[in-house]
């Protein structure tokens, strides 16, 4: 029995196409292709104008949340769960994960000071890396029993008088009192936070901070000074004031390892009693990773989390909460943090924005007026640029002063961008 011919696609009635039709169709295709090729040649030599490009119907500006595929404005999670991940520094040394070498450094500095030698500690690290947590745990462990004062700058020191006023309030002295004499009356521990507000990158803008550093150095036998500072401001101060020479110890709260980050997150998650469900990833590289490396979804998840957070605790906690797809019953469902493609966002940031972001990074937080003084631009221009960066979700409002500061999720991206342009090293 003869087999029935397979009907060709598109042939009316499903029957075989006659050769004449096929050759006519082929000829039409060849003619079209030739015509297209010939037009391209004419456009290349300039004989014909190229056709107008097809524009997409809608073009919207990207923002950081969209690039990260997360909602950054509100969390839909139950309050009882988000309360397990406060973004406040650790107070209890038992909750501190890792950081053994850093704690050894604190111990050494504290013992030097207790034995009568001058000692002062500079704690550096990027925003959210755990500097204040280190200080809290270090002081509780090695300096319990000492008088502890804690000062946090609330507004910028414009001149040395502002520094005097701040220190007088901190020490409980009258405004005209001799600060050095006041510091040398008895032994105590003083932590100064947000020292980035102690200067402004303008001519004469470092005078107040310089006076503070001289005061600190002169009194470091009676006072155990601890100053916390982000990494980029430290580099600026090192270049302008040779900052490091004022401190006997510098403790770097560097990037946490994957295990440290995982331990810190699971330590906080554990009291919830919920089990973790890691949703399978749709990303090809992660499937391949699992196929060849035989790694579990949990390991893949924490690997991705560590990579994107760059070992910064705060960023890691934020990404953890943002990766929660849902909490239902007795389980927390987590999806893999998607590797962001920053290209679209990068195109939105001009070189002028980078100068503003660099200045912001060097000061921790800036108001529009301060940015205008630093960059020698009109305040309105700076405000417009800051508001635009706010819309892009790269900056957020500073809770303490009327300024703008980096979002935790944007720190790595901006740092990479500044580094790419050789603006920070």
């Amino acid at each position: 029995m003869a087999s029935e011919p397979v009907p060709s696609v598109g042939a009316p009635g499903g029957g075989a196409e006659p050769p004449a039709t096929r050759s006519r169709r082929a000829a039409r295709r060849a003619t079209t292709a030739w015509r297209r090729f010939w037009h391209r040649v004419l456009q290349r030599v300039g004989w014909e104008l190229p056709p107008l490009p097809m524009l997409p119907p809608v073009v919207s500006r990207p923002w950081l949340g969209r690039v990260l595929s997360i909602e950054m404005e509100k969390r839909r999670l139950p309050l009882s769960y988000t309360r397990l991940f406060p973004f406040t520094p650790v107070e209890n040394p038992e909750e501190l994960v890792g950081r053994e070498e850093e704690m050894d450094g604190m111990r050494e500095a504290a013992s030097r000071w207790k034995s009568g030698h001058p000692a002062s500690v500079l704690m550096t690290g990027i925003f959210g890396s755990g500097k204040t947590s280190l200080y809290n745990c270090g002081v509780k462990t090695f300096l319990s029993g000492e008088e502890i004062l804690r000062g946090e700058l609330q507004e910028r020191w414009q001149q040395p008088d502002d520094m005097h006023a701040f220190m007088s309030r901190l020490l409980g002295l009258p405004p005209e009192a001799d600060l050095l004499a006041g510091l040398q009356t008895r032994r105590r521990v003083i932590l100064i936070e947000r020292i980035e507000l102690g200067y402004l990158r303008t001519n004469g803008g470092f005078a107040a901070l310089e006076e503070f550093l001289n005061l600190m150095q002169a009194s470091s036998r009676s006072v155990f000074w601890v100053v916390t500072l982000n990494e980029l401001p430290r580099r600026l101060l090192q270049a302008t004031l040779h900052f490091a020479r004022y401190f006997s110890h510098r403790i770097n709260a560097g990037a946490a390892t994957r295990e440290m980050l995982r331990s810190a997150i699971l330590q906080r998650h554990q009291p919830s009693g919920l089990r973790l469900v890691f949703l399978p990833s749709l990303q090809r590289q992660d499937r391949l990773h699992r196929m060849f490396e035989q790694t579990s979804p949990e390991e893949v998840f924490f690997e991705a989390l560590h990579r994107q957070s760059e070992g910064v605790f705060r960023t890691g906690f934020e990404l953890w909460l943002d990766s929660i797809e849902s909490i239902d019953g007795d389980a927390v469902h987590l999806r893999l943090p998607i590797a962001p493609h920053y290209r679209l966002l990068r195109n939105q940031i001009s070189i002028d924005d980078l100068y503003l972001l660099k200045a912001n990074a060097q000061h921790g937080s800036l108001t529009a007026a301060e940015a205008a003084r630093i960059l020698a631009l009109p305040a309105l221009t700076c405000r417009r640029r800051l508001e635009r960066l706010l819309d892009l979700q790269i900056l957020e409002r500073d809770s303490l002063e009327a300024g703008y500061r980096f979002r935790a999720q944007a720190v790595g991206f901006i740092r990479d961008l500044l580094d790419y342009h050789n603006m920070i090293k």
């Binding site: 030599v45 001519n203 803008g205």
Partner: protein, 277 residues
């Protein structure tokens, strides 16, 4: 008739060569030259018509015109030589003379190629470097076997023959790094307060957004004793991108002068021109 005009003492090869040239061959050669002349003019007209059609076509035409003309005339020369059909010796003599002339004329070309090889192997500069070669100053954008192209501050593209490296010193400002040192000179009255101006100069550089932080800032003072004695403050600082050299020096100078004005310290004003009567 042509042969009867020949003197008797010419070598036999020359006589044989001239004997080949007849009136027919001369007419043929002239006709060919005339045809090619018309072709050349026709080609020029066609290319001009093409160039008027669009600006983009004009640029294409300009870059190809000389080459097309050269090809046309080489073909014409080839046809003429085929018609004249000189003897092997005549051809060799002609080529020998031509080679001697070409050798003398292209010695600079060979020197440029040698210089290009040295540049490529020795790397006195690389693409992206900021260099000063002779009076040219700018960024190297192309290194070829024959020449190097530098994009100057004023937007000119300067072509420097590679043979220049044998005779000129080459100053490389950054040698592969994106940052480079800049120098800002500011002139002050001879009695300006030195400690204050040194500190202002250092801070003016330190506060500039163009500054490359890891490298140090160097401030120095020099007295210049000319008709009007003055003090020159020299601020050496590194810019993070060598293309922004003048942005940094201008920014430093502006910040310095603003601070001077704020503190009421006078800067140097040029003397009014003296009008000779």
């Amino acid at each position: 008739m042509l042969k009867s005009l020949l003197p008797d003492h010419l070598p036999s090869d020359a006589i044989a060569a001239v004997r080949q040239i007849s009136l027919d061959t001369i007419v043929e050669v002239l006709v060919i030259l005339l045809i090619f002349l018309l072709l050349s003019r026709g080609l020029n007209r066609f290319l001009n018509a093409l160039g008027t059609h669009s600006a983009r076509a004009r640029a294409l035409v300009q870059s190809w015109r000389a080459l097309l003309q050269l090809v046309l005339w080489i073909f014409a020369l080839y046809l003429c030589v085929r018609i004249l059909a000189p003897s092997q010796n005549t051809v060799l003599v002609a080529f020998g003379s031509a080679a001697l002339a070409i050798g003398f004329g292209t010695q600079d070309l060979v020197r440029n190629w040698a210089g290009g090889l040295v540049v490529l192997l020795n790397h006195p500069y690389r693409i992206g470097d900021r260099v000063r070669i002779g009076s040219a100053y700018g960024e190297v954008i192309h290194i070829g076997l024959h020449s190097t192209r530098v994009y100057s501050i004023d937007g000119d593209v300067v072509t420097i023959p590679n043979a220049t490296i044998w005779s000129e010193m080459i100053f490389n400002m950054n040698y592969g790094a994106p940052n480079c040192m800049t120098v800002t000179d500011i002139y002050l009255p001879i009695d300006a307060p030195v400690d204050e101006v040194m500190q202002i100069g250092r801070e003016a550089a330190a506060t500039s957004p163009y500054l490359y932080l890891p490298e140090p800032i160097l401030v120095s003072l020099h007295d210049e004793l000319s008709e009007t004695p003055q003090m020159r403050l020299r601020i050496r600082a590194f810019v993070y991108d060598h293309r922004l050299e003048y942005e940094l020096t201008t920014d430093i100078a502006c910040r310095f002068k603003r601070e001077l004005a704020r503190r009421g310290i006078a800067s140097v004003h040029p003397e009014p021109e003296k009008i000779s009567v």
